[in-house]
Subunit: 187 residues, 2 copies
């Protein structure tokens, strides 16, 4: 650790030279010292020590503030990663759910098969729901959630933006859209 | 920012008092200064300035090293979160996969239904595979991967640790076990 500190110190001293901001501050400090002291020989040594102290204090305060920033950012990032961790797998599972729903729509299934398919579909939906995945609402057309694959002319019974048919369900993970619903809309 | 720095400075000065290690180093510095200088009145002021410089340099170096540690740990944590992000959803999906395989084992499925079920199962397995989920190997019994739900007496044809039957497949995410395989084993 001692050797590391020494190495780091050398590295930082070389960086110091490049730091214009700190040099400016050092000049300010030097000017203050000039005003305060009168004796010439001791002034310069004391001046240097004060300069050095000021420099390192500022560096330390900056490093401390930066450390807190890094920690805060890391926490935020971790929370985001946790919140959307299931995004990729959920997206890839949606076609399986589509297939199951299509299979359930086939005529002439035996009760056993139908029950098995329903159980599978429900457990899939439940698993997705527990991770924050849900179907998008289908009340009225919303271009943020729906994709119009076809339009029909609106009339008195079917005002504009009424959804006529759903070709494929849409899903979102929390407030993030995984895929839009494919719909036919009156327009 | 100026006000923040001042506040932080006050806070840090109060912390300083508690730091024994720094105090020890400050004493060392003070002793060095005593050896180097001869005049008494200026010595004490210079001594204090040097002490202060040394203190803040050490604090700065420590803060800098700690900052790098925090960043390194945050990176490692992020990588782990990414690697195992699908763990919870994958675990919850496994029963659906079991249900599908049970449904496929039912006698008298029509070709259409069978094809639909196979497609669904395969797309589910593919989605899991892309996220790093795979079946555990079943060559010989391994208590790290398998759970023996029943044993059969081993003989010449079936040496100990041979797996006789698999009740339920096991799965792992990368090298992490999601659930063990339920097996009958010769013993």
């Amino acid at each position: 650790m001692k050797a590391f500190i020494k190495k780091l110190r050398r590295h930082l001293v070389s960086e110091e030279v490049k730091n214009e901001e700190l040099q400016e501050e050092a000049v300010e400090t030097a000017e203050e010292v000039v005003e305060e002291t009168t004796e010439v020989p001791e002034k310069s040594e004391l001046e240097l020590a004060n300069e050095r102290a000021e420099d390192f204090e500022n560096k330390y305060l900056r490093a401390h503030a930066e450390m807190q920033n890094i920690q805060r950012r890391a926490n935020e990032e971790r929370q985001q990663l946790q919140r959307y961790r299931s995004q990729d797998l959920a997206k890839k599972i949606l076609p399986s759910l589509d297939n199951l729903e299509r299979a359930l729509a086939v005529e002439g299934l035996t009760d056993d098969v139908k029950k098995g398919l329903e159980m599978t579909r429900d457990s899939l939906i439940q698993a997705l729901k527990e991770e924050g995945v849900e179907e998008v609402a289908l009340e009225t057309f919303d271009h943020n959630l729906h994709m119009a694959v076809q339009t029909l002319p609106a009339d008195d019974e079917h005002p504009a933006d009424t959804i006529a048919e759903v070709f494929q369900k849409g899903y979102k993970l929390h407030e993030r859209l995984l895929r839009p619903a494919m719909v036919v809309v009156y327009n």
